[in-house]
């Protein structure tokens, strides 16, 4: 008889952990034992074996059943064991955290600031650069169409197109649909409660093209977008909530936009901003609404009015390049006549921009700044990680004896590493949670202060949450890795016998971390310095007028006015203003800050006006007190006089124009002629002014001239400039009141300080300055604390050595000097590395700076000095502690 089947199993070496083998061994043992006992009672071997199997029952069935049960048990055990192990580890970490509240707080706060800054910036970068605008279906197929063409010797890319350009694009076969939109700032309501809102005219095809649905009511369709259609409006979600209480009864009511009554037919969904990211308060059907606002349809009739932006959705099988070639061909055909007369670029090209800005040339400036700050916040997080790693390292060295004992007790080094990493991870997650609070508060402030026009309601909190979690995990692992590895590598015996004595490797790593912190802090401080200098330079830029005392005033009358009537309206307005106490002068102009006009001009003794890259010459038609009201200095001859208001043909040039036309000669008394007419009247030059900027800080000086408003009947004033004695902000109220009282037909008065108008130009620098300074100070403090803890640790470890040296007669000063030398040495190397890095990075910052060299030696020097002073300060306390060691006490510590 062959050996029973189960015997085979018996010879297999038992192996713990393998369920099937364990089972077989158990059953083998049982059957063997049964046989043994039976044989012992006198059974024959064969009978005993038969009896054993009979008693067992159906072997195969039971064995299968047992295996099934065991598999279930192992599975369960695997999971529950893993979880209970992890949970025990987490509890150990948490207990450790509670035991050392100071340490925990330091680490959590460090992480919270580092992670919070990154989460806040991620929220902004995510909205600006990573996701398409909200509510756009299949955004990849939607493009913004723009035209790239030569203009005054430069290549420009423009998205402001003529109405007819839009009609041309509609012929392109590869475009499924083409729609136009155009954003304006318009007045909502009338009288004292009137305010400016962001309105967008959009063709009816705009909504279906994007795939957006109304939140309430309906969006307008083709019938609402005929030139003669009754006026309807779709409210933006935010305006609906803030102005109309979010009530459905708003449907069917009438709102007044730019003086015209619109029936509200719907509300757009929350966060819908079309294809751009700026908030939109009201959507108006392009054709009837634009005509109602302008009082005429002239903007639709000529290619001279560029006001529409074009969006297209490509057909599913479209070829992008082919579509753009077609669009380009149609566009050039549309300008055939102008091209023939050399008034339009024959090589004008239609290009497509995706809705999600690509990094590189497409990146909008605010996105670029946001990326820079994101880089900075990543640096700060790095510093935070380094510092936490340093703290963990110091702690793990203090815990060496404990670790050594645990290792000796048979805990695997890997488990120890795991525990250390887990410690940091738990701390990082706690920091991440706190960081979320920092992100939501700080991010909110950052968004509204820096980019107030963007509609942030489409931001994804979930993505920020996910990002924060991921960053926390990465930060925890990064900061935990170094100490953990060191903890595992230490030698058992030496650790136990020598207690807390630093290993060479640990000291080196901690030294390197401190050094890295010093260099990162240096980089940030250099950045802060560059932005501060840019901001100073920008602030002190002489714009040519009295920036600190000017109010720019817009008026809107409730009935459309033109020509003489409008001029009289403005003259009455400036007269009313000049009666207000505190107002020094007021004048009307056709070119408020940011506006530029030019016309064909000839000059006495010249065949033609020389062309300049800045364009122009630009004219300003102003009332007599203009120079007084702006503070623009007249450097030669005279300004405008009351007598000129009756139509005198006189002009005041700026110095740039005088130098351009008649270099080195006296311009006074010479003639300018407007238009092509050969018998045009002489406009006599009566004065020369200093230079005043037209509309920005960064503009190159251009030729400009000033004419009396009364000279040309066809010119409409567009704004008032008011110069006040004191703080212009305090004068805003009186100015608005005076105008509302003096002009019964006025619908809206807006008085803004010149500083506010210029503010958007300062945003980038202010943002950079704020962020770099804050992060720089944070990094400086963190690096200082890191250095301090490193030195304290050093001194504590070398107590014995210091004690011996003091016993041998070393002077206090020598020991002081030694500790400080070490502090300055570490910081010095770090600072040098930081300066080199800043020097190499410098060219990349040039585009965001203003009138300061990115390698400004003074700034580099100051940053280095600040860091070295901080390092010295960090070294003072440990140095003094070192010399307080009493020789005998030091000898006793071991």
């Amino acid at each position: 008889m062959s050996a029973p089947r189960w015997r085979r199993f018996f010879r297999i070496a038992p192996f713990r952990g393998d369920a099937a083998r364990d089972l077989d061994e158990e059953l083998d043992f049982h059957l063997q034992r049964t046989v043994e006992v039976l044989v012992g009672r006198g059974w024959s071997e064969a009978d005993a074996q038969r009896e054993a199997r009979r008693r067992f029952g159906e072997f195969a069935r039971y064995r299968g059943e047992l295996e099934r049960i065991d598999r279930g048990r192992m599975r369960m055990n695997g999971w529950t064991m893993w979880f209970s192990d992890r949970w025990a580890d987490v509890r150990l970490s948490l207990r450790g955290m509670v035991r050392q509240p100071g340490f925990t707080a330091a680490v959590v706060v460090t992480f919270a600031l580092g992670i919070g800054a990154n989460a806040a910036l991620f929220g902004i970068v995510d909205r600006l650069l990573l996701r398409p605008p909200a509510h756009v279906v299949d955004a990849d197929a939607v493009v913004k169409l723009q035209v790239r063409r030569a203009f005054l010797g430069r290549t420009i890319t423009t998205d402001a197109l003529a109405w007819d350009d839009l009609q041309d694009f509609q012929q392109v076969a590869d475009f499924e649909t083409v729609a136009g939109y155009s954003g304006f700032s318009l007045t909502l309501g009338e009288g004292e409660t009137a305010r400016r809102i962001r309105a967008t005219y959009a063709t009816h095809g705009f909504f279906p093209l994007l795939g957006v649905q109304a939140q309430l009511g309906r969006l307008y369709g083709p019938d609402d977008d005929r030139f003669d259609a009754p006026l309807v409006a779709v409210l933006g979600h935010d305006l609906w909530k803030s102005q109309f209480g979010g009530s459905p009864s708003v449907l069917g009511t009438t709102v007044r936009v730019a003086g015209s009554p619109y029936t509200v037919i719907g509300v757009a969904p929350k966060g819908f901003t079309g294809v751009d990211l700026e908030r939109v308060d009201v959507w108006l059907p392009m054709r009837p609404a634009k005509v109602a606002t302008d009082g005429s349809d002239e903007w639709f009739s000529s290619r001279g009015y560029n006001f529409v932006r074009a969006v297209a959705r490509l057909s599913p099988d479209a070829v992008r390049t082919r579509a753009l070639e077609q669009a380009t061909a149609l566009h050039r055909a549309g300008y055939e006549e102008e091209i023939a007369q050399d008034r339009y670029d024959a090589n004008a090209t239609v290009i497509a921009k995706p809705l999600v800005a690509r990094l590189g040339e497409d990146t909008p400036p605010e996105g670029r700044v946001a990326l820079w700050i994101a880089g900075v916040s990543a640096l700060v997080l790095l510093i935070a990680c380094a510092n936490v790693a340093n703290l963990m390292l110091a702690r793990s060295l203090r815990q060496r004896r404990e670790s050594a004992v645990r290792l000796a007790l048979g805990i695997s080094p890997w488990r120890l590493v795991e525990q250390r990493v887990l410690d940091t991870l738990v701390l990082a997650l706690a920091g991440g949670a706190a960081g979320l609070a920092v992100a939501f508060v700080g991010g909110g402030v950052l968004r509204t202060r820096i980019l107030p026009d963007i509609d942030w309601s489409g931001s994804s909190d979930l993505r920020v949450l996910g990002f924060t979690l991921a960053v926390s995990a990465v930060a925890g692992l990064t900061a935990g890795a170094a100490p953990a590895v060191l903890a595992a590598r230490q030698r058992l015996s030496s650790a136990i016998s020598h207690g807390a004595r630093t290993s060479g490797a640990g000291a080196r790593v901690r030294g390197l971390l401190t050094l890295g912190q010093a260099s990162l802090a240096t980089i940030l401080l250099v950045g802060a310095g560059l932005f501060i200098r840019s901001m100073e330079a920008a602030r002190s830029t002489d714009l040519g007028f009295d920036v600190d005392h000017i109010l720019a005033v817009d008026l809107e009358s409730s009935s459309p006015m033109k020509g003489q009537e409008l001029k009289e309206f403005y003259v009455r307005a400036s007269e009313a203003l000049e009666r207000v106490p505190g107002v020094r002068a007021a004048a009307a102009t056709n070119s408020p800050f940011g506006w530029s006009w030019s016309t064909r001009l000839r000059a006495e003794g010249l065949d033609s006006i020389p062309r300049t890259p800045e364009g122009g010459p630009y004219y300003h038609r102003v009332t007599q007190d203009y120079f007084e009201a702006t503070g623009l200095r007249v450097v030669r001859g005279r300004g405008l006089e009351p007598a000129d208001a009756s139509g005198a043909q006189v002009a005041v040039l700026n110095q740039t124009m005088a130098d351009l036309l008649w270099p080195g000669q006296d311009p006074l008394g010479r003639c300018l002629y407007e238009g092509d007419d050969a018998d045009a009247a002489c406009i006599q030059v009566v004065g020369v002014t200093a230079y005043a900027h037209r509309g920005g800080l960064r503009e190159a000086e251009s030729a400009q001239y000033y004419l009396p408003m009364a000279m040309d009947a066809g010119v409409d004033p567009r704004g008032l400039v008011v110069r006040v004695e004191g703080d212009p902000e305090e004068m805003q109220g009186p100015v608005v009141k005076a105008l509302l009282a003096a002009l019964p037909s006025v619908r809206l008065v807006r008085a803004r300080t010149m500083r506010d108008l210029l503010d958007p130009e300062f945003r980038g620098w202010r943002l950079g300055m704020t962020v770099f300074t804050l992060f720089g100070i944070l990094a400086l403090v963190v690096a200082g604390v890191g250095l301090y803890s490193l030195l304290s640790f050093d001194v504590a470890e070398r107590r014995r050595e210091i004690g011996i040296r003091m016993a041998l007669g070393s002077s206090t000063e020598r020991i002081h000097a030694q500790v400080l030398t070490r502090a300055l040495g570490l910081a010095g190397v770090g600072v040098a590395a930081g300066l080199v890095a800043a020097y190499l990075l410098a060219p990349r910052t040039a585009e965001v700076l203003y009138q300061v060299s990115p390698r400004d030696p003074a700034i580099f020097g100051i940053a280095a000095a600040v860091l070295l002073v901080a390092a010295a300060a960090a070294g003072v306390l440990p140095a003094r502690r070192a010399t307080r060691v009493h020789p005998t006490e030091a000898l006793r510590t071991e």
Binding site: D22, F29, Q32, R55, F56
Partner: protein, 116 residues
């Protein structure tokens, strides 16, 4: 008294196994032997069914097992009660006692006395 083997009432095997492990750890053969001896070979139980019960109780956490050396110097799997197993055994013993005495009260006191 009739001594032919009786089939086991469903649900009783687990209690018997728990009872067998009261006080000391045993391996599977010992448990089977203990039950056979204590029941005077009245109960008819496959050894396979016994092992099924042992493994099931182990899975449910009422028993735990360890490998150890047997008297014959071979590796054997020893089972012992977990605290939960001890509790369960006490519960089951109590309810079995109540159940049995209720049945005996119905059937008449003679049998009860005989068992007593």
């Amino acid at each position: 008294m009739d001594s032919s083997p009786l089939p086991l009432l469903p649900g009783t095997l687990d209690v018997l196994v728990l009872a067998a492990l009261q006080g000391e750890p045993r391996h599977g053969y010992d448990v089977a032997d203990w039950i056979r001896v204590r029941s005077a070979e009245t109960l008819q139980i496959d050894d396979g069914a016994l092992y099924t019960s042992l493994h099931r109780l182990e899975k449910r956490g009422l028993l735990a097992a360890e490998w150890g050396m047997s008297d014959s110097n071979r590796r054997a799997k020893y089972y012992h009660l977990t605290p939960e197993g001890v509790r369960r055994l006490a519960d089951e013993t109590r309810s079995w006692g109540r159940y049995a005495s209720a049945v005996f009260r119905v059937l008449g006191t003679g049998m009860e006395a005989e068992l007593g």
